[in-house]
């Protein structure tokens, strides 16, 4: 009996061993793949809502637009000096002590086992992150990360396996590395890192148009790029540029007319003053065009101007005073202020021979005087509004005239920039003395607009 029982016990021993072996196989089948793969903690997963925003999709050779204008670093037209923003939501609550952003022409591998910083990675042709000199901004849920900030790591050697970063050691041509004392991150938190976009701190895009490139993100739970955490890949693309061109003509519209009847509304198009058989004729004097030694007489002509000059515009006059053969009515300053320079300002005084002009800002003619800001008469011609005086009592309006304008036009009004639509009212004064010879006095005054482009 005893021998049977012993034999029975002996038979049960192999059975137990087999059962234990089965259990061992089961255990190792479950756990060995986890340990052998170098897999991160079971909590590691793909980063969520991840994106890469580049400041410009211009290829890395572009720094100017079609017109040769230089595009500022970090602007939409500069592919040589771009900024790039990585944004992602953490998937796992764990420590993160270091991160590698690796740029490749392929997003794979993107799984957590071999990790996005392992495996073949061809740096996109022309791409260069070696000029990244700082972390421009780093935020957590939109707030600057000042509590546990990362630092740019420019010294840890990442060339060769398992990192495979390109460029001379430490390998930053297609890699950006960050590190800090490992600190916890919370699943669901949004992290954002901005690099480049400055004159001396930038990322150069790939040199090909319409070219997709990828950023592989790998976090590590330690600060030595050793134990992998969450990971993921993002994509961006260069794009061929759309060059837009256009031309604008240099424009100067200028018209002159005598008398208020020719002053029509400018309208939306700044219509020119109308012209007619009499639009150029101006009469000084009474209804018969006769001047008096005891009554001042004035008349108005108008000019209308619009121009897109960038360097300003001048309106000048050229002509002599009123003349009748060898007789003339002197320029206003000659008798009023003998010895003064031609073109000197003087008030109207009936009984004194005077011929002068000035801008009349009080002219109430409909559609008349209206000057754009920045367009104004020169000093000696800016005081034409006011009274014309009586014999022995000069008026308040002041005029000037320069007979040298016959050979050298004199500036009457000017601007330093474009003029949208201005209408000038020019007031003419004619006074005579009792000794002014009788006759028909005439003059022709030419108005000239000159733009500087």
């Amino acid at each position: 009996m005893r021998s049977k029982n012993k034999l029975k016990r002996l038979k049960t021993v192999p059975t137990r061993i087999a059962s234990l072996a089965t259990a061992a196989v089961l255990f190792f089948a479950i756990t060995v793949p986890v340990f052998l793969s170098g897999h991160a903690s079971a909590a590691s997963a793909q980063l969520q809502s991840r994106s890469l925003t580049i400041s410009s999709s211009a290829n890395g050779t572009i720094t100017q637009d079609i017109a040769g204008n230089t595009a500022a670093p970090g602007s939409g037209g500069n592919g040589q000096k771009t900024s790039e923003i990585f944004t992602f939501n953490v998937a796992s609550t764990q420590n993160v002590g270091s991160i590698i952003f690796k740029f490749c022409d392929d997003p794979i591998p993107l799984d957590s086992v071999s990790g996005p910083s392992d495996g073949t990675c061809n740096s996109p042709a022309g791409f260069d992150a070696s000029h990244v000199a700082s972390i421009i901004t780093q935020t957590i849920n939109g707030t600057n990360n000042t509590t546990t900030p990362f630092s740019l790591d420019t010294t840890t050697v990442l060339t060769g396996a398992p990192y495979g970063c390109a460029g001379t050691s430490p390998g930053r041509t297609n890699c950006i590395a960050l590190s800090r004392t490992a600190a916890a991150v919370t699943a669901g938190d949004t992290y954002s890192f901005k690099f480049g976009g400055l004159a001396s701190d930038y990322i150069t895009n790939p040199s090909t148009d319409n070219y997709a490139f990828f950023g592989r993100i790998q976090t590590y739970t330690d600060n030595a790029y050793s134990t992998k955490g969450d990971y993921g890949s993002v994509a961006a693309s260069t794009a061929q540029q759309i060059d837009v061109t256009a031309k604008v003509k240099e424009v100067l519209n200028f018209s002159v007319a005598a008398g208020s009847s020719n002053v029509t509304a400018p309208g939306a198009t700044c219509s020119p003053l109308t012209t007619s058989a009499t639009s150029g004729a101006l009469t000084l004097g009474d209804t018969n065009g006769v001047l008096s030694f005891n009554t001042p007489y004035d008349a108005h002509s108008y000019f209308r101007l619009s121009t897109n000059t960038n360097g300003g515009v001048t309106v000048s006059y050229s002509g002599n005073t009123l003349r009748n053969g060898s007789n003339s009515i002197a320029a206003i300053n000659s008798a009023s202020n003998p010895g003064s320079a031609m073109g000197t300002l003087a008030a109207s005084g009936p009984g004194t021979p005077q011929f002068g002009i000035a801008m009349d800002s009080s002219d109430a003619t409909p559609n008349g005087y209206s000057l754009n800001t920045g367009f104004a008469p020169t000093t000696n011609y800016a005081s034409g509004n006011g009274t014309l005086g009586t014999v022995g009592s000069p008026g308040t309006a002041e005029f000037a005239y320069d007979t040298g304008s016959v050979t050298s036009p004199v500036v009457f009004a000017s601007s330093t920039g474009p003029v949208g639509c201005s209408t000038g009212s020019v007031r003419y004064i004619g006074n005579i003395s009792t000794s002014t010879p009788a006759g028909i006095y005439t003059t022709t005054i030419t108005w000239i607009a000159t733009g500087t482009y």
Partner: protein, 243 residues
């Protein structure tokens, strides 16, 4: 000796838990699937030293299905790689000689394809046409063309302006709207309204999308004081997918 039961258990363990690693090609916090197939009729990758192909013997269901919390790609010929494809038919687009009498316009086209993402946005970057230090005024809010008022604006839809006639187009999905899902954001989707803000989002897709072709319409007006000269700018299409 092992019993038949023990042997069977061992075989099942080997089949169900192979020693090695498995790759999850795309996951979400609540869902994960391997890039394998659940039936016959295809192979993920056939390759030799000089040949590589993905094959399928026929598929009952293909395409993308999604809801706010779920997205899947059916068919044997799906991919495990995120993809972004931006194709701009670039070049020089001349607006001609601008004058105060009428607007001037031109169009350019580009396509966007984006796969295995939660969608993308599209921005147009670059300054307005420039002449030395002078920039045509951008239309900072959507407005109609106003000849005689200095303006530069864009949209991505059909238009019809006096003196120009019809120009522009709405987005088209290639080959049809069961594959492409990109659309234009307001107000860039309104005919005859234009706007320009450097870097503004003008279009997007809310999920992975096949090819969507967009037509960019560019319009300009000048005023009497717009300086004379040659103007130019380079605009860029930027697509930002989210994965």
């Amino acid at each position: 000796m092992f019993s038949k039961t023990q042997i069977l258990i061992g075989l099942l363990l080997v089949l169900v838990f192979p020693i090695g690693v498995s790759f999850a090609q795309y996951t979400s916090p609540n869902y994960q699937v391997d890039e394998t197939f659940f039936g016959a009729g295809g192979n993920l990758q056939n390759q030799s030293a000089n040949y590589q192909a993905k094959t399928a013997a026929g598929e009952l269901g293909v395409g993308n299905v999604s809801s706010p919390r779920y997205q899947a790609y059916a068919g044997f010929n799906t991919t495990d790689r995120i993809l972004l494809e931006v194709n701009v038919s670039g070049g020089v687009f001349d607006l001609g000689v601008l004058d105060t009498g009428q607007a001037h316009a031109n169009t350019a086209s580009f396509t966007v394809r984006d796969y295995l993402s939660d969608g993308y946005t599209v921005q147009i970057t670059g300054h307005t046409p420039q002449n030395e230090n002078y920039f045509l005024a951008p239309m900072s809010s959507a407005a109609s063309s106003s000849p005689g008022t200095e303006q530069f604006g864009i949209n991505l839809t059909t238009n019809n302006l006096s003196g120009i006639g019809p120009f522009g187009a709405t987005p088209s999905q290639v080959p049809d709207n069961t594959f492409g899902f990109g659309y234009v954001d307001p107000p860039y989707d309104t005919s005859n309204l234009f706007k320009y803000v450097d870097g503004d989002t003008v279009a997007q897709s809310d999920r992975s999308s096949g090819v969507t072709q967009y037509t960019l319409s560019m319009m300009a007006n000048v005023s009497r004081t717009t300086p004379g000269g040659a103007y130019g700018t380079s605009l860029f299409v930027r697509a930002v997918p989210v994965y």
